[in-house]
Amino acid sequence: MQNLHRQTLIGIVAIIAGLFLMLVAIPNWVSSPSNVRNIILSPVFWPYTLAALTILTGIGLTVTGHFSSEDLTPAPAEVSGGYGRLLIMAVVMVIYMFGLPRLGMVWTSMLAFVATAFLVRTSHPKTALICAVCVPLVLYVFFAHIASVAIPQGNFVRLP
């Protein structure tokens, strides 16, 4: 029964997303010149068509979900601490992104490596620590000196 609800839930989310697009997102965030004579050629035509098709797909999912007995991937509520780790990972990603211009890509990557290794409960902490230092440095050498990419250096320690 729980599986049926999940398919139905996906359908309901799709319907809400389609309605949001039709009623809010497209009218406000898609601009169309006023002199377009035919709606088919307007910049809003394609987004409206896709939003309508999303709603139709959502209805299909809701209806079939109600009658389907298909086994979807079960919700693994038994994975202890899963949501907590995901939340920490989300924070790590935000810090990673905002740390790039300030700390520099190499140093931020080292910290992110260590944090992720800790989150995935690495059984090789020493190897992880060595890799956390080496991998960002090797990638820096490749991208900065071979591919000529301007890797962010940050405001504190600059690399050659």
């Binding site: 050629l41 979807l72 919700a75 780790r85 890509m105 690495t122």
Partner: protein, 499 residues
């Protein structure tokens, strides 16, 4: 330009050390990545892509094709040795490969997998060379309405067969099409979902979306449920496959290769169904059918031939029509675009040297695969020992460097992270990511061709039915939808009967 002139032009482009080195390195990287449990050929190609930006187009694409070929074979190594397919395409190899390993004949199974892979790869490449040019010359007659119906058909079949459910595949494709509308309008140049941000005016970066969808969800899945890979690595034993055994399985290998070529040339079907079909056909026709599933060498040969037969054939629609046959070719189409090339029929006229250079490279890649594969089989235990707790943080860092390198833009890193969460949610809800990515690539082409057709006809939809080619693709689209719906109904009935 004659056929010989085209081959010579291709040879002048790839007949150098750098090209062969790139191909060799690509096959090696792919084989290693495919053999690492938790990595896949798709991830390997996606993560290699940023390293190719500074290369010449032909070198870059050869490297990626090498990774693709190596990745498909590499997946069979853990399938046989630890009962964990490295790629979904290797799932059928487990059926007989692992029982052989349990009997102490892992070396024999891997040897046969390698020979079958190389043979199928060669047949698939020859099919590509034979059919791509022919299909491209036919596609030169296509105008916007024909391309619109072709892309619509491709999207239908990709959405329908990429996952367990047509509707979830369709939803995934819708999301991809919607995301592709972000940026400036193709005709009027007005803003669509850009929120006034200049970073979004060119649309969302393809590589950020791609890596976000296919690499980051794996990292998040590992964070969600951290567990080391299970399965005990079997020793190779001192058994090697003999020429007599290869000869005995040759019929199944050739049959599997042709199944792979046929299914691979249809967009969206991919290597896994081909491997299973080849396996079941081999079992049906084999005098040893009772031994299948208990450690039959012919089973390994058939499934490997089935999945490797797809590799060259998926490039037929890619090169001839500009339509990716699967996720990996969708990434490769992105690589073409990054390097300023647009695959499709015109490429056979404008860049014939690159096309034939690729053909030559692909043939050579089969030979490289044979050498690298035989070394990889022996070195697998070192690859299997890479701890996942070190691998996945490394993948995260690699993703950030790679995505940043595309445009030197931190915004793209943010897009990748957001797409990673979207991909993770899709993964957890059994919504396939492949239709999303392929729709994201094909979306602008679909809209562009549709609007061009409407401009040509003064907004009359009759132009979309203007000739036999458009009717042919409409017919195929309708047939595909009917077939997928029927298959869905049948599957639901079977499930209900079992319940």
């Amino acid at each position: 330009m004659s056929f010989v002139d085209s081959i010579l032009a291709g040879l002048s482009l790839v007949g150098n050390f750098e090209a062969f080195l790139a191909l060799f390195a690509g096959v090696a990287i792919g084989t290693i990545a495919g053999a690492i449990p938790g990595m896949s050929a798709t991830m390997a190609v996606a993560l290699t892509l940023p390293f190719t930006f500074s290369m010449q187009p032909i070198i870059a694409i050869l490297l990626l094709l090498g990774v693709y070929k190596g990745g498909i074979f590499g997946g069979s190594i853990p399938a046989i040795l630890i009962k964990t397919p490295g790629t979904p395409a290797s799932s059928a190899t487990v059926l007989d490969g692992y029982p052989l390993a349990e009997k102490g004949q892992a070396g024999k199974a891997l040897g046969m997998a390698l020979w079958a892979s190389c043979t199928a790869d060669l047949i698939s490449n020859l099919a590509l060379i034979l059919f791509a040019g022919w299909l491209a010359s036919f596609a030169l007659n296509f105008g916007p309405p024909e391309f619109f119906t072709l892309i619509l058909f491709s999207l239908t079949i990709i959405a329908g067969v990429s996952g367990a459910s047509l509707l979830r595949g369709a939803l995934s494709a819708m999301l991809g099409l919607l995301l592709a509308t972000v940026g400036l309008d193709l005709v009027y140049g007005t803003n669509r979902f850009t929120f006034g941000d200049p970073s979004m005016m060119g649309g969302l970066n393809f590589i950020a979306v791609l890596i976000g969808l296919f690499a980051i969800p794996e990292v998040l899945a590992m964070v969600w449920d951290p567990k080391p890979h299970k399965g005990q690595t079997r020793s190779l034993g001192d058994n090697k496959v003999t020429f007599g055994e290869y000869k005995r399985c040759f019929k199944s290998i050739v049959r599997g290769s042709f199944i792979g070529v046929f299914l691979g040339s249809i967009p969206g079907i991919g290597a896994a169904p081909s491997a299973f079909l080849s396996y079941s056909e081999a079992r049906r026709k084999s005098p040893n059918r009772d031994n299948f599933g208990k450690g039959e060498l012919e089973g390994v040969a058939a499934s490997e031939a089935g999945n490797n037969g797809v590799a060259g054939a998926t490039l037929i629609p890619l090169l001839a029509l500009g339509v990716p046959g699967d996720v990996i070719t969708a990434i490769i189409i992105g690589a073409f675009m990054v390097h300023g090339l647009q695959p499709g029929p015109m490429m056979f006229i404008l860049n014939v040297d690159i096309i034939y250079g690729l053909f030559i490279g692909l043939i050579v890649s089969s030979v490289f695969l044979l050498f690298i594969g035989s070394v990889a089989i022996r070195g697998f235990k070192y690859v299997a020992d890479i701890p996942r707790g070190v691998l996945f943080p490394g993948v995260l860092v690699l993703c950030v460097y790679g995505v940043f390198a595309v445009n030197n833009n931190i915004f793209d890193v943010g897009v990748m992270f957001v797409m990673g969460w979207v991909g993770f949610l899709m993964m957890r809800n059994d919504i396939p990511a492949a239709p999303f990515l392929i729709a994201f690539i094909l979306g602008p082409l679909l809209e562009d061709n549709f609007r061009q057709a409407m401009l040509m006809s003064g907004s009359s939809p009759a132009i979309l039915f203007r000739g036999p080619i458009t009717w042919f693709f409409w017919g195929l689209t309708v047939l595909t939808v009917i077939a997928i719906i029927r298959a869905g109904i049948r599957a639901t009935r079977t499930l209900k009967r079992r319940a």
